[in-house]
Amino acid sequence: MSKHVQQLDRVVIRIAGDSGDGMQLTGDRFTSETASFGNDLSTLPNFPAEIRAPAGTMAGVSSFQLHFADHDIVTPGDRPDVLVAMNPAALKANIKDIPDGKDVIVNTDEFTTRNLSKVGYDSNPLEDDSLSRVRIHPVPLTSMTVEALKDFDLGKKDAQRSKNMFALGLLSWMYNRPTADTEAFLLRRFAKQPVIAHANLAAFKAGWAYGETTESFSVSYEVAPAPVQPGTYRTITGNKALALGLTAAAQRAELPLFLGSYPITPASDILHELSALKSFNIATFQAEDEIAGVAAALGAAFGGALGVTTTSGPGISLKSETIGLAVSLELPLLIIDVQRGGPSTGLPTKTEQADLLQTMYGRNGESPLPIIAPKSPGDCFDAVIEAVGMALTYRTPVILLSDGYLANGSEPWEVPNVSELPDLRVEFATEPNGDDGTFQPYKRDPDTLARPWAIPGTKGLEHRVGGIEKANITGEISYDPDNHDMMVKLRQAKVDGIAQTYAPTEIDDPTGDAKVLALGWGSTYGPILAGVRRVRHDGGKIAHAHVRHMNPLPSDLGDILRRYDTVVVPEMNLGQFALLLRAKYLVDIQSYNKVRGLPFGATELGELFASIVKEAQSDD
């Protein structure tokens, strides 16, 4: 049967099933195929905090969404064009997001009375007409998988496990994905269990064949590759990009890297990645708690290593006292906060931007430090290199603010040329710097206000530092009121001075006469840009800017804000960045705050911006 092939410019797919169904793996594979095909793409994994909640329950549903296109895209997509639901729970949890008329592939084998009632379906939605608004494709995925594997030496349970590969095969057929990658992957992954490897392969091929032959699917789709700048690309998640960026930074600084960390979702993967990179002189220390993690990193920094700690919001709370010590010691240190839903344990596997003010102010006393927020998974690489550079140059702890969406989401990333990465080498102090031949640990560089980094083992530079207030220059304990006032202000001035190093803030305002500015920070970059594009697509005028330096803020930002009638700042919190902007520039920011544990939708922001632009117009 020859089938119709339809051209699309972009597609959003979502696959959903039990936590144990391998949905994340399936999504990763489809992403990989899509990347090797050359589409632009963006992904959004979404999973519960439990490892593997009981099969078939709403609590156990895990999903993976992928947006891919023949052009440059910036978000994982709002609402799927196709949903694969591996069981009734997955259907129930996701169906409300599917627009009318779109495709829903369901694994009918799981639609038993027991499973249906487990999630509160009184009748089978595949049989009543409750789902008539979408295009249902009933597929007995499990039994077809078992059937396809009947010649393998596998129990039924084991055979059933390959059903995700059957689904992947079907999807791969539907979107004409290249399959070589996946085939190679399966053989590699299960190299030690060849039966499993081949069973999965067979299931994958059976899925593809099923698409090709069944009448249930009359069309397949093609999404052409996106035009890209020449270069080498790979798909990367934010956490992976942070790990690579840290490795690159340490290598460019020619320093050993020491990571002191305590596992916590969604930051743990950075620890995992780095622990596998020992050959790059990276030591990872799984500490007894968050405090020990940052404390050990600080100790390593005192010894001349690049000290790093990684965590999420609750960990930042715990580390705050020690970060304050680092501020007082004026030693380089990198703290990575992968934000998640709060307060307290909150929504550990979901994303949020509500640690900005905590990282700004969550320490006793006046305790300023620079904060950098990457805007996309790939940007995590550049941001962390910049953060390390700042820490080393200014001898200060720096916080990098990522979030759950950046951490686990992925996008194509152009592999940089190592030789073009910044040179981060530092000079340790080697000589006494005092007029009288003594060593003055708090004598500052006149430009940066940084103090010398004098590491143990350097003869003649023996000195003591501590968290008690100290005299500028000598570093001796000082309770002198005026010295304290000066030191408080010097520490602030040092951090404020970093703004001098920034490039001018880029403003994207094609017509040059927009009255509304959409301003964002961190991971809202994609959704905001997508929203802005929609407005422009409909003829609206809107400017767009994005801040990566959360502290100190760029020096040109105030002027920029004042240029617009309306500045709208969407945030996944209750307006934390807006608060900083309002306080600093006395500009009336229009906040848009949703705290749902999920990134904003492009449509949502497009509509928001459109209405603001319209209002601004009508104000004329």
Partner: protein, 348 residues
């Protein structure tokens, strides 16, 4: 610094630490900072002993690092002219762990108090001990919070009347030696501020031990807990109270050495040395005993009243250290590769 990071496992605690080219003296280790303890504080004696003993190690002064927490005792690093950090309350062992793990060429000392180490810092202490990081932890135990002006501490005896316990404290104290042994410590010792010779010998053994060494130093706080260790200092009582531990020697003590320690069940008992006593039954101290049960039993001899207090090295055994193992893993990986950053970024 990277020269010495050769990833070779250490045998002694000072292996890999450069030796000093000059002969150093006590003065070399005295900083200019004004010492700010109360007159009469036991910390002075410990400082003097420490500054006197450090040159004996023969290591380069610049390769010694002192890391402390917060408390009167934690001011110690300011007075020793080496590298030093006066950190925050309870965190010194964790900070020192990061330093020792990355810098095998340093001799790293943690200075802490009974509050700093056992109250707020208890967790870091026990984890440092189980990991066996090459740190020397000097726990100045004055059984009180000095710096905050006299609240009871986790080593204060039950019923202690202090500012925060006007009708007496309720908590059973820790026995720091027992706690350390329960936490898999490889080296545990106890000594006394005023006994310079004993202090020096214990410090020397600690410095040379490869791994975490916990040295509990009984220290008099003459302002808030004066006389806490009087029984071990007063010539009238000390001989009956103090049991000196010397590896291989029988546990005999007392005025005219008339007391001895014998086994009783899984523990110890103090008996009179008289004709009825079979000399063979007197326990010979074995600091190297693999089974920590021996040292643990010994640690139970003394209660809060210090009536029979073993002083010296309870346990001193060899086992792999965290820092050496880490450096070994690291250098094996570096040798083996991959080391090409560009390839790594490319993901091939």
């Amino acid at each position: 610094m990277t020269e010495v990071m050769i990833g070779m496992p250490k045998v002694g605690g000072l292996d890999g630490v450069p030796t000093s080219s000059e002969k150093l003296t006590r003065k070399d280790f005295s900083s200019d900072a004004e010492v700010r303890w109360c007159p009469g504080c036991g910390d002075y004696a410990i400082l003097a002993a420490f500054q006197g003993f450090l040159p004996e190690l023969g290591i380069a002064r610049e390769n010694v690092v002192m890391i402390s927490g917060i408390g009167c005792s934690s001011r110690f690093p300011y007075y020793v002219d080496t590298f030093g950090m006066h950190s925050i309350h309870g965190r010194a062992p964790a900070i020192a762990t990061g330093l020792a793990a990355t810098r095998p060429d340093l001799s790293v000392w943690v200075i802490t108090g009974d509050g700093d180490a056992l109250s707020i810092g208890g967790n870091h202490l026990i984890h440092a001990l189980r990991r066996n990081v090459n740190l020397k932890i000097l726990l100045f135990n004055n059984r009180i919070y000095g710096l905050t002006k006299g609240q009871y501490s986790p080593t204060s005896e039950v019923g202690k009347v202090t500012k925060s316990t006007p009708v007496g404290s309720l908590d059973t104290p820790f026995n720091p030696v027992s706690l350390a042994l329960g936490a898999e410590a490889s080296f545990v010792a106890r000594t006394l501020d005023s006994d310079r010779k004993h202090l020096t010998s214990v410090l020397t053994a600690a410095a040379e031990h490869n791994g975490t060494a916990l040295v509990e130093i009984y220290q008099n706080c003459n302002i808030f807990n004066d006389g806490a260790f009087e029984i071990l200092k007063n010539p009238d009582t000390r001989d009956e109270a103090m049991i000196r531990l010397e590896h291989g020697e029988p546990l005999i003590f007392g005025v005219k050495r008339k007391r001895a320690v014998v086994q009783s069940g899984f523990g110890f008992e103090v008996v009179d040395v008289d004709d009825n006593l079979d000399p063979e039954s007197i326990v010979r101290h074995d600091a190297h005993c693999e089974d920590p049960a021996y040292a643990f039993a010994l640690s139970r001899l003394s209660g809060s009243d210090l009536a029979h207090t073993p002083m010296g090295i309870f346990r001193q055994v060899k086992r792999p250290t965290y820092d050496s193992s880490l450096q070994t893993q690291l250098h094996a990986a570096i040798d083996q590769g991959p080391n090409d950053l560009q390839e790594l970024l490319r993901g091939k």
